[in-house]
């Protein structure tokens, strides 16, 4: 092994050892890279400067806004209205509350960009009623965790923002490209619950009047995804601006009209959201320093050389290799540092395979979302099992059969690029590299 290879291995080893001993991810990364740097001619101030350079990216400013949207919606207790609408829609279908969980998650994902937020909200809202109706706790935890991963795919996904900002890929393209896979997972889970889940308590179908009332009650919060996506697609706003417009809408319209008393809690919400957003971003800064050192040591070139040696320039083989890599790595580390550290490898291989960067991005984001429910570090499943009060191993066993939904979605995204690219090509062609036809109407897409 070369000297560079040894240093890279040492850095990675130190990061994993520190991380699994319980040192916070950001400090494990900083400690690993600082120790690695001592064996190179690189100066330590330049490594620490990377903490700043890693977060000095305008698109990353969308992260706090999307988190704040989720925080405000949750703490103002507006989400109950969305749960009621979901129940009016699918409460009568076989599976009962299991179907409601999935639909609720599909709706709430359009407001919160984080699957952990979804796990918390779904558990608080749905776990108790499901337990009262006799659903197996392990199944409840597995379903909540799986449904919550949809938040990483549909706008305003934080993972998509980070991927786009770090990889210089259109965030709007990733948002639009993630919608179909997100819906595939959602509907896949509904089909799974219908045929293989517990029958649950079958409610009578909601009357038209009940359905109208539930829709009316949820109408204001349901405008948020429209504001976010509509603003970005029409080109009126960049993602971060769409986030802030959504916040203004919540502060001026949603909370005053639906939960006026909550206005006095806003300072606390902002303080908590301010704390929450710093956590992934300091990790991004540390991961940037780590990734910068890996790049200096030519790690990405070596790894992409291995992968392209195996896969040639066949886009399918390259995507499979990266999905395998991200599945393994995503089982052990957080998705966000994973994206930041491995982005140079992904960018090189995307170019070698001639793959559309949005296509590649969405495939990898689905893979990382899947990693949230796989052992040993399936964060969403860990959180869901703790909230629901069931052992992780039991929740894991219950989720094994649900993996089929994710395998099918990942395979569809790889082999049928239009699953990912069709929507962005039609709604925002520039986001996937299409350009205006110089000699006529429409766009030309490479």
């Amino acid at each position: 092994m070369t000297a560079n290879g040894l240093i890279v291995s040492m850095m990675a080893g130190l990061f994993l050892v520190f991380g699994y001993l319980g040192v916070p991810v950001a400090f494990s990364l900083i400690a690993g890279v600082v120790i690695g740097t001592l064996f190179t001619p690189v100066s330590l101030p330049s490594i620490i400067a990377q903490l700043f350079n890693g977060i000095d990216a305008e698109p990353l400013m969308a992260v706090p806004f999307f988190l704040l949207v989720g925080e405000l919606m949750t703490s103002a207790n507006v989400v109950v209205r969305i749960a009621n609408l979901s129940q009016a829609l699918v409460g009568h279908v076989r599976g009962g509350l299991a179907q409601v969980v999935t639909v609720f998650s599909m709706f709430f994902s359009g407001m919160s960009g984080s699957s952990s937020a979804d796990v918390a909200v779904l558990s608080r809202t749905m776990a108790r009623p499901m337990a009262e109706e006799g659903y197996d706790a392990a199944f409840v935890a597995a379903l909540i965790a799986a449904a919550a991963t949809i938040a990483n795919l549909v706008p305003p996904s934080i993972m998509a923002v980070v991927y786009g900002a770090i990889g210089n890929v259109s965030i709007a393209g990733l948002f639009l490209g993630g919608i179909a896979p997100g819906l595939m997972i959602g509907f896949g889970l509904m089909i799974y619950c219908y045929f293989f889940g517990p029958a649950g308590f079958r409610r009578p179908r909601s009357s038209f009047w009940n359905f109208t009332e539930a829709t009316k009650a949820a109408a204001l919060p349901m405008m948020i995804p429209i504001i976010l996506l509509g603003g970005i697609m029409t080109g009126w706003f960049a993602p971060r601006e769409a986030g802030v417009v959504a916040i203004v809408y919540i502060l001026v319209v949603v909370i005053p009209l639906l939960n006026f008393g909550h206005l006095r809690n806003l300072p606390r919400d902002f303080a908590h959201a301010g704390l929450i957003y710093s956590l992934p971003l300091i990790t991004i800064g540390a991961a940037s320093a780590f990734g910068w050192m890996l790049a200096y040591l030519r790690g990405p070139i070596v790894v992409s050389g291995w992968i392209s040696g195996l896969a040639g320039n066949d886009p399918y083989k390259i995507m499979f290799a990266l999905v395998a890599l991200f599945t393994i790595v995503g089982d052990f580390i957080e998705p966000i540092p994973c994206i930041v550290i491995f982005m140079p490898i992904v960018a090189t291989l995307t170019e070698i395979g001639g793959i559309n960067p949005v296509h590649m991005g969405v495939v990898l984001i689905v893979t990382l979302a899947f990693g949230l429910i796989t052992p040993p570090y399936g964060l969403a499943l860990l959180m869901a099992s703790k909230f629901v009060g069931v052992r992780f191993s039991a929740a894991l066993r219950a989720s094994l059969s649900i993996y089929v939904v994710f395998f099918a979605t990942i395979a569809a995204c790889i082999f049928l690029p239009d699953v990912v690219l069709w929507l962005p090509k039609h709604l925002f062609p520039e986001s996937v590299g299409c350009f205006k036809n110089p000699s006529g109407p429409g766009y030309i897409c490479p």
Binding site: L21, E241, T283, F332, Y377
Partner: protein, 188 residues
């Protein structure tokens, strides 16, 4: 009894000195202020641009709030044990093993924090030679966030080390992880 500092987390009280509670309170307020600040500046950016009279300096102010918010939050999260972790293996440990591992973990954090202080300070000094556009403010004004945050992280880590050795890291009022998670901010 009403809590004196509303934003100070009472969890892990055995690892905290009351004298540092105001610092945590101020950092939490700073988190809220920076988030409010850059939400406002981004909104004003949209408005002024839509009106055809963009205020170019707004982007600098936005970035300042953004960067200081991240480093203030990183410091506050250290005292509140809110940082993202790969495992909570130490919570399952007891006795001397736990003491050793918790101490080792804090020493790693302390080492990283001291690197942020010293090398961040060197960057801060170097930052006086680089300027932000269009205001020509030295870049040092942003770089200062790193050593400041590092110093606070180091302080809170020493606080936890000393109190952990005195009172034990586990504390007397262990609560189930699910209840803790339910009341805390969630990671990404």
């Amino acid at each position: 009894m009403k809590q004196r500092y509303a934003l100070v987390l009472e969890r892990d009280r055995h690892l905290k000195w009351r004298v540092l509670d105001p610092v945590e309170q101020i950092l939490m307020i700073l988190c809220g202020v920076t988030l409010t600040g850059f939400s406002t500046t981004v909104f004003l950016d949209v408005v002024t641009r839509s009106l055809g009279h963009p205020w170019l300096w707004l982007q600098e102010v936005t970035m300042t709030f953004f960067v200081y918010g991240i480093f203030a939050g990183a410091a506050a999260a250290t005292r509140r044990n809110d940082h993202l972790c790969l495992s909570a293996i130490t919570e399952a440990m007891t006795g001397r093993t736990r003491l050793v591992v918790e101490t080792f973990n804090r020493l790693v954090v302390l080492g990283a924090a001291l690197c942020m202080v010293w090398f961040g300070y060197l960057n801060f000094l170097a930052g006086f030679g680089n300027f932000r556009m269009p205001s020509l403010t030295p870049l040092a004004s942003l770089y200062a966030a790193i050593p400041l945050s590092g110093a606070l992280i180091a302080l809170f880590t020493v606080e936890q080390l000393v109190n952990g050795w005195r009172n034990g890291f586990a504390g007397r009022d262990l609560e189930p992880a699910a209840e803790r998670l339910e009341r805390e901010p969630f990671p990404i």
